[in-house]
Amino acid sequence: MDAEKKDIYFKIFRYNPEVDQESYFDEFKISVEKGITILRAMNYIKDHVDPKLSYRFFCQAGICGSCAMKVNGVAKLACTTQVWDELKKCKTPDVITIEPLGNLGVVRDMVINYNPVVDKLEKFMSWVEPAKKDSAFGEKEFIVAEKDFKIIDAATDCILCASCYSECSILDAHKDFVSPLVMLKAFRMNADTRDTASQKRLNLLTKDHGIWDCTHCYKCVEACVKNIPIMDGIHGLRNSAMNRGMKGEGYRHADAFRKDIYNVGRLNEPLLLLRTKGIFKVIGMTSFTIKMALKGRLPSLFVKKIPGLKKVRELMRSTSKR
C-alpha cells in the first residue's frame, strides 16, 4: 500500500547578508508523504532543489535543540514536527511558512545568532556551584531526597533550543532581558540542594532586565518544545528573592500590587508607581506625567473600593495558605 502523498508548498525565509539587501521568501513545491517531518522535507529541498538553503540540524531526534525555527509563525523543532500536523495550521491551504527564530538576529536563512544565549548562561552563573571542595570530588554522592529532586526534574529537560527566547515579549522590547531559558536554568540551580550560589545568582537576577521584568505573558510556556512549566521557575525565583527580603523595585511593585487588591480590589496606579519607584524617581518622571495629563491619560489618584471586595479577600487568603 502506498503512503498518502500530497503536493505542498514551502514558503521559506531567505537572507544572506553577503548578497541580499533585504530578506525575502522563496517558495518550493514538493511532493510529501504522510509521516515526514518538517526537517526531512527541508533536507529534501536542500539535497534536490537548492543546496544553498541554510539551517542547522544535528540529532534529528528532538534532543539536541539545533533545528528550532518558526513553522507557520510558531517556534518549534523542525525534526519533531510532522508536515501533516502543520497542514491544519496553514493560513493559505497547503502553504507552510518557515522562518528563523525571533529575538536573536539572522546569520543566514534559518541560522540565527546563538551567542547571546551562551553569553547570558555564563553571565547568570548557570551552573551548580558545588558544596564540596575539588579535592573531595568523587568520594561520595550527595544524598538527595525524592521531593527535592522532583523540584528540578522538569527544568533539566531544557535543551536550550531557544524557542522560548524567540517568543519572549520582553526580549522583543529589550534584548538585555535575562530571557526565559536562563531564568529556568537559574531556578534549577537555585533549587538544587547541592548548590551554594543561590544568593549570588539572585543578586544578578534582581538587577535591571532581570526577573522582575517578566510580565507573565506565558508565551515562553506555550513555545516550550519540552512542555516545561517555565513560569513556575520564574515565580520560584521571585518568591525566593522576596523570602530573602530582597526588597528592590520588583519586590515593592509586587507588594504594592497585592496590597491594593487586598485593600480596595483594584489598582491605584499613581500610588503603585510611587510605592514602587520611591518619591525621588517619580519626581524625575514629572515631564512624562505632564504629557500623560495633557493627553488625558493620567489615572485618578482616588480609587473606590469595588463591590464584592470581601470575596476577593477570601480568595487571596485561601491562595496564600496554599
Binding site: R56, A61, L121, W127, I143, V144, E146, T156
Partner: protein, 567 residues
C-alpha cells in the same frame, strides 16, 4: 590566534570533561574547545539509558571485578584487559564526581544514585537520569566548563591536523560563520570528535554530524586507526527513521516479539532474554526477519518492542523521551501499541589507536571517547559503557595533556598550509564539477548497509570495497554549489562526506580481511570466533598515495582467559 597549550576538538562529553579536568589540574593553561556545533548539540545528548558504575547502591554484591568481567566478555575478548580495568575501576569516582558537580541522577528511596539493569550486565549497575542521561551529563559538563572559564570556539570546522613527525603542531580550522581559515598553534591536541556510524546514513541512529572528522583527519595526518570494522548495530532503532529506542526500554522490562507473538529471544539467550548484549540481540532480530517471522511494511521489515505490560505510569515516569519519539516518528503510543523497531548502526568501536593515557604515536596528540580506540569495548560495547568511556578517559586525557603541555614547546605549523587549504576549498566549488553530494551520500549508506552491515560475507564485502572505491573516485568530481562565505552548510556537508568516504574504506577492508565472527562483526562464511588466527586488533595506516595498509597488534590479556560467550 594565540598559541594554545591544549586544543580540544569536539565538545561532547569526552572533550568537555578533558577541558574541565585540564583547567582544574592547572588553571594557568590556555585551553580551547573547538566544535562544529554549539556544545550542548553534541551527540552525547542522545545517550538515553545511562552510565555503568559498580556503586552497589541497588545490588549490594556488585563489584568492580564483575563490571570488568562483563565488559571483557561483552567485548568478545577483544578489549584490552588493562584498559577495561581502568574503565571500571574509575567508574564510581567519575560518576560521583559528576553528581557532585550537579548532574541530576535519578535517586533510590534512600537518596543515593539509582541503578537499573542493562544489556550484558550481571547486576543492576547502570546509573541514569530517567531516559535523558546523556543530555543531563552533557549540560552539566558544559555548565562546569563555563564555570571554569573554558574558551569555546563554537562552529569551527576541523580541516586538518598537523605534527612534525614526532610532536603536535596544531590544527587548521574554518570559522563556519565567515569561512575564515586559520591555524591554531597548540602544544597538545585532543581529538574528541565522536563516532563514524553515520556513514550508514539511512540505517543509522547517529546525528547528522557523526561523520568521523577527527579520525579521518588523523588518518590523513599519518596516524593509525584501530579495529575500524567493528560497528555496533543497536537492536532497537525505529522502523522508519532508524532513530534510537534506548536499551533502557528493555532494561525496564520491555519484550521483543515476532509476528507469531513469541518472545523470540528465548531461542538465542534463554537466560538473559531481551537483555543479552547488543550484537547478539541485533543478530537475533535479523535471523527472525530473514526466516519470515518479522512484520512487513512500506518502510521495510520490522519487529515489535512491546512495553504495554509495564503500564502507563512507569512508561511516563522512566521512559518519557522514548514515548515521545515513538509518537513523533512512528505515530505509536507505546502505552497502547507495540513500537515497530529494526536494528540500526549505532556505535563505532573502532577509532584512533591510543594507549591507556589516550596518547597516539605522536607526542601531544591524544584521542578520547568514540573517536578513540583504547580499546575498552573490543568487538562489542556494552550499553552504559560509552558514557562511562568518555567520562573516564576524558578525565585522563585532560590530566595527561595538562601535565605534558607544560614540558613541551610550540612547534609552528608552516603557513603554507593555509594556502593549501584555501585552494582545496575553492576547488570543491569549481563549476565544471558535476557530481551531486546527496547522491554520493545515499549510495555510500546503501552499499555499507547492504555489504558491510550486520551479516557480512566475502562476496558482499568485496562488492562493498569496490563500491566505496568507485564512490571515492566520483567524490573527486563533487561540486559545492554554494559559494558564499557565510555559514556555507553545503561545503561542510561535502567535507563531512569526505571523512565518511575515507573511513568507510577502512571499515569494509578491515571486515573483508577479518575471516571470523566476533562481537559486532558477523561473517556468514566464517561463523565462529577464531582466536588462533584473529584474536588481535586491526591497525590501519594510509600511505602517501592514499592506499590503506592493514596490520595487526596483539590484545592485552589479564586475568580473564578466553572463553566462549554465552548468555
Amino acid at each position: 590566534m594565540q598559541p594554545y597549550d591544549i586544543i580540544i576538538i569536539g565538545a561532547g562529553g569526552g572533550g568537555l570533561y578533558a577541558a574541565m579536568e585540564a583547567l582544574s589540574a592547572n588553571p594557568k593553561l590556555k585551553v580551547a574547545v573547538v566544535s562544529k556545533v554549539y556544545p550542548t548539540r553534541s551527540h552525547t545528548s542522545a545517550a538515553q539509558g545511562g552510565v555503568n558504575a559498580a556503586l552497589a547502591n541497588r545490588h549490594k554484591d556488585d563489584t568492580i571485578d564483575l563490571h570488568i568481567f562483563d565488559t571483557i566478555k561483552g567485548s568478545d575478548y577483544l578489549a584490552d584487559q588493562d584498559a577495561a580495568t581502568i574503565l571500571c575501576e574509575m567508574a564510581p569516582t567519575v560518576v560521583r564526581e559528576l553528581e557532585n558537580l550537579g548532574a541530576p541522577f535519578s535517586r533510590l528511596e534512600d537518596g543515593s544514585i539509582a541503578q537499573r539493569p542493562f544489556g550484558g550486565a550481571s547486576k543492576y549497575r547502570c546509573c541514569y537520569c530517567a531516559d535523558k542521561t546523556g543530555h543531563t551529563i552533557l549540560h552539566t559538563l558544559f555548565e562546569q566548563c563555563l564555570r571554569r572559564g573554558v574558551v569555546f570556539l563554537n562552529e569551527y570546522y576541523l580541516l586538518s591536523l598537523h605534527h612534525d613527525g614526532k610532536q603536535a603542531q596544531g590544527v587548521v580550522v574554518m570559522n563556519m560563520a565567515n569561512s575564515e581559515i586559520s591555524i591554531l598553534q597548540a602544544k597538545t591536541v585532543i581529538i574528541a570528535t565522536g563516532g563514524y556510524a553515520k556513514m550508514y546514513w539511512q540505517k543509522s541512529s547517529n546525528a547528522a554530524g557523526n561523520t568521523g572528522d577527527g579520525q579521518a583527519a588523523a588518518l590523513r595526518a599519518g596516524l593509525a586507526l584501530e579495529d575500524m570494522e567493528f560497528v555496533q548495530f543497536h537492536p532497537t532503532g525505529l522502523r522508519k527513521s532508524g532513530l534510537l529506542i534506548s536499551e533502557g526500554a528493555r532494561g525496564e522490562g520491555g519484550y521483543l516479539v515476532n509476528n507469531k507473538g513469541e518472545r523470540f529471544m528465548s531461542r538465542y539467550a534463554p537466560e538473559k532474554m531481551e537483555l543479552g548484549p547488543r550484537d547478539l540481540v541485533a543478530r537475533s532480530i535479523e535471523i527472525e526477519i530473514n526466516e519470515g517471522r518479522g512484520f512487513d511494511s512500506d518502510a521495510g521489515k520490522y519487529m515489535h518492542l512491546d512495553l504495554r505490560h509495564l503500564g502507563a505510569s512507569l512508561i511516563k515516569d522512566r521512559l518519557p523521551q522514548i514515548r515521545e519519539l515513538a509518537i513523533y516518528f512512528e505515530g505509536v503510543d507505546p502505552i497502547e501499541e507495540p513500537i515497530p523497531i529494526r536494528p540500526t548502526a549505532h556505535y563505532s568501536m573502532g577509532g584512533i589507536d591510543v594507549n591507556n593515557d589516550c596518547e597516539t604515536a605522536i607526542k601531544g596528540i591524544y584521542s578520547v571517547g568514540e573517536s578513540a580506540c583504547i580499546s575498552v569495548h573490543g568487538a562489542n560495547r556494552l550499553g552504559g559503557n560509552s558514557l562511562l568511556d568518555i567520562l573516564v578517559f576524558g578525565k585522563i586525557a585532560g590530566r595527561v595533556a595538562a601535565e605534558q603541555s607544560v614540558t613541551l614547546t610550540h612547534k609552528p605549523v608552516s603557513s603554507s598550509v593555509l594556502e593549501d587549504s584555501k585552494k582545496e576549498i575553492k576547488s570543491f566549488m569549481d563549476p565544471t564539477k558535476t557530481e551531486r553530494y546527496g547522491e554520493l551520500r545515499e549510495a555510500l549508506g546503501k552499499t555499507l548497509g547492504e555489504n558491510a552491515g550486520i551479516y557480512r560475507t566475502r562476496k558482499n564485502l568485496e562488492k562493498g570495497v569496490a563500491d566505496i572505491m568507485e564512490l571515492k573516485e566520483r567524490f573527486k568530481n563533487v561540486r559545492v554549489h554554494d559559494t558564499s562565505v557565510v555559514f556555507n552548510t553545503n561545503l561542510f556537508q561535502v567535507l563531512e562526506l569526505r571523512s565518511m568516504m575515507d573511513l568507510a574504506e577502512t571499515v569494509a577492508r578491515g571486515a573483508l580481511l577479518r575471516e571470523e565472527s566476533r562481537g559486532s562483526h558477523s561473517r556468514e562464511d566464517f561463523t565462529k570466533r577464531d582466536d588462533e588466527k584473529w584474536h588481535k586488533h586491526s591497525i590501519f595506516h594510509r600511505k602517501e598515495n592514499g592506499e590503506i595498509v592493514v596490520s595487526y597488534k596483539p590484545v592485552t590479556m589479564g586475568k580473564y582467559k578466553l572463553e566462549e560467550r554465552k548468555y
